[in-house]
């Protein structure tokens, strides 16, 4: 479905040189006027948009066949990558002081209460690690010159609504296309081969993580909701002033409003990180992490989880699987791993509060 669109006007009149005029909507293509007549020449760039849905020109049978083929393909890809230690693995290094290992991309499922052995109640967020694979390794020259990076993707998505360039990245790794791709800066000894699957057992109960996600968008919000200003009283003579910011700063000396002044504007729908969240429990059957407290983002959104960078828990990575947890290794994990002080539902009330 081709459509003409007129993107940019450039007026050749010397008085208006340097100005650009934007015209929206479709206009009949006009001819380029010549300068000799003396009339201001108009030149515009024509674009022909010919994007279609993938099944727009396919029959129903063909479209369903495409979907079926693609999903079988994905299953095959995932199955091929299940045993990373068996097909030409990259060398595994030992943990050293100051190493940083990779993180995961997870889906936020919801929240539920949790009790400790002494009867205290906390709340946890469930994060499911769904189809998480390493996609690309960026050596430090390519990335930022200081340390290498690993691109990790989570949750498979359909290849039909994506451009060929983005699909190329996943094709090279041999994994299905992912909905979210995150970058993790790692140290040299923690790099992984592209295509390695990552599981929830990468994190263990008792450790602390940081979770980054896009917060729920609240739109354009006023200063009371966005920054927590107190506003003005409802009565006692206030004229049309109840939720306004009030004064914008000191008076004649700076004679300006400082940069970064808190004012109304877009709130939410931007990345935010929750630091230092304790992992209470890891479920290996469904690959779910139970992480303390709340996490930015709405339900079923994709979040980036990594070991915390807070200095209080700097040395925790020593006891954790390095560079990651490989499922075809020797250790067989129980279905549920619990933190030491967490109350497990199957047990009787053992401790006295």
């Amino acid at each position: 479905m081709a459509s003409w669109s007129c993107r940019l006007f450039r007026l050749k009149d010397p008085l208006l040189r340097g100005t650009h005029v934007l015209v929206s909507g479709t206009a009949a293509p006009t001819s380029i006027c010549t300068e000799s007549i003396g009339v201001p020449a108009v030149q515009f760039v024509r674009t022909i948009k010919s994007t279609t849905w993938f099944d727009e020109h396919l029959t129903e049978d063909n479209a369903s066949f495409m979907r079926q083929v693609v999903s079988e393909d994905f299953k095959q890809m995932t199955a091929d990558k299940l045993y990373p230690l068996k097909d030409e693995p990259w060398p595994r290094h030992e943990w050293q002081e100051g190493s940083r290992r990779v993180g995961l991309v997870a889906v936020k499922l919801g929240m539920m209460p949790i009790w400790t052995k002494s009867g205290d109640r906390h709340v946890v967020t469930l994060l499911q690690v769904k189809d998480c694979h390493v996609i690309k390794y960026l050596p430090k020259e390519e990335y930022d010159g200081t340390c290498p990076a690993l691109l990790v993707g989570g949750q498979n998505c359909s290849p039909f609504q994506r451009s060929e360039e983005s699909l190329e990245l996943f094709r090279n790794a041999g994994v299905p296309p992912k909905q979210k791709v995150s970058t993790f800066r790692v140290t040299e000894n923690a790099i992984l081969k592209p295509g390695t699957p990552l599981y929830a057992a990468h994190f263990r109960p008792g450790q602390y993580v940081d979770v980054t996600a896009k917060t729920i968008g609240k739109g354009f919000q006023g200063v009371m909701k966005r920054w927590g200003f107190k506003g003005q009283p409802a009565t006692h003579g206030q004229t049309k002033t109840h939720r306004r910011p009030g004064s914008l700063g000191p008076g004649g000396d700076p004679a300006k409003v400082h940069k970064g002044k808190k004012m109304p504007g877009q709130m939410g729908n931007d990345f935010d990180t929750a630091f230092g969240l304790k992992v209470w429990r890891v479920n290996n059957r469904y690959n779910i992490l139970y992480v303390n407290g709340s996490v930015p983002g709405h339900k079923n959104c994709l979040v980036k989880v990594r070991d915390t960078r807070l200095p209080k828990w700097a040395g925790q990575t020593g006891n954790l699987p390095f560079p990651t947890f490989f499922r075809d290794g020797e250790e067989e994990l129980a279905e549920d791993l619990y933190a030491d002080d967490m109350f497990q539902y199957g047990e009787e009330e053992a401790t006295t509060a």
């Binding site: 889906v107 209460p113 469930l126 009787e348 006295t352 509060a353």
Partner: protein
């Protein structure tokens, strides 16, 4: 009552068929009162009651046992993925294997023992009427109300908290309303329950008895306007505390279109069936 009349009708049917059989087979089976075989002294013979007919009632099978699924298993309508509920239900069932959470409704009288480090004997027992049941999943709660030394006390317990040691149903019954918040403004006699109350026996097969008591209220002002149609309380004696004009005035806040609003209808019957089967299977493991 209905059961009695049904039973009596069955007996009569049986008697009639037995009499027919008697005539057909010409065998003498005495099913009626014995004829007055006059004794020698002319006095009426001693009354002997007829033998009780043995009726084998095959209708009371497993199917008639009351099926009950605790309301916190059914999640509210939301965009949460099904896996979260599956995982939560597993935990709930595991906890139920250790602590028996009995079937109860709003209006039943419960006794809850909870672990308390500051109480002598380390446990804390509270008896009260269940006024509300809220929440779904592991965070489900219920509120017990009682009046102790003239002071009304409401305690909100979390059903799956590890501090709860025992939940006992002293009297299983339902009320006319799903929510008994109005007991706060009712006369104290309706919220007072003895701590040493003995548990009343309840039938696992018959329907749960509904207590149709209509509660008498203290004079207005109340903590909330219980007469408003949004609450739709059936268990209050409004005729004793409000005039018909006040009742009519309260109807101004009625929203009669709400019951026809199809977007609010959420049929949970199929969901309940599936969850009930799953829970029973898990519990029996």
């Amino acid at each position: 009552m209905a059961a009695c009349t049904r039973r009596a009708a069955e007996v009569l049917c049986l008697v009639r068929t037995l009499r027919q059989i008697q005539h057909q087979n010409e065998r003498f089976i005495s099913t009626s009162l014995p004829h007055l075989a006059a004794g020698g002294d002319g006095r009426p013979p001693k009354f002997t009651p007829p033998p009780k007919p043995v009726i084998v009632d095959k209708t009371q099978s497993e199917a008639s046992l009351r099926r009950f699924l605790s309301p916190e298993f059914i999640a509210p309508r939301s965009r949460t993925s099904g896996l979260k509920f599956v995982v939560e239900r597993k935990d709930m069932v595991q906890r139920r294997k250790v602590l028996n959470i009995p079937e109860f409704y709003v209006g039943s009288i419960l006794a809850v023992s909870m672990k308390d480090p500051y109480a002598n004997g380390k446990t804390n027992r509270f008896v009260g009427i269940c006024t509300q049941r809220k929440g779904s999943g592991l965070g489900a709660t219920f509120i017990l109300r009682n009046i102790i030394d003239g002071q009304g006390v409401e305690i909100c317990y979390e059903m799956y908290s590890p501090r709860i040691q025992a939940i006992e149903v002293l009297k299983l019954e339902k009320r006319l309303d799903e929510n008994l918040m109005y007991l706060r403004d009712a006369l104290p006699e309706y919220s007072t329950f003895d701590f040493d109350m003995k548990p009343a026996p309840h039938n696992p097969t018959a329907d749960v008895p509904i207590n149709t008591v209509k509660v008498r209220m203290k004079p207005k002002p109340w903590s909330k306007r219980w007469e408003r149609p949004k609450f739709n309380f059936q268990g209050i004696r409004f005729d004793l505390c409000l005039t018909p004009e006040q009742m009519e005035h309260a109807q101004k806040w009625a929203q009669p279109w709400l019951e026809f609003d199809m977007m609010r209808h959420h049929d949970t019957a199929q969901l309940e069936e599936a969850i009930y089967k799953e829970v029973q299977a898990e519990l029996s493991k």
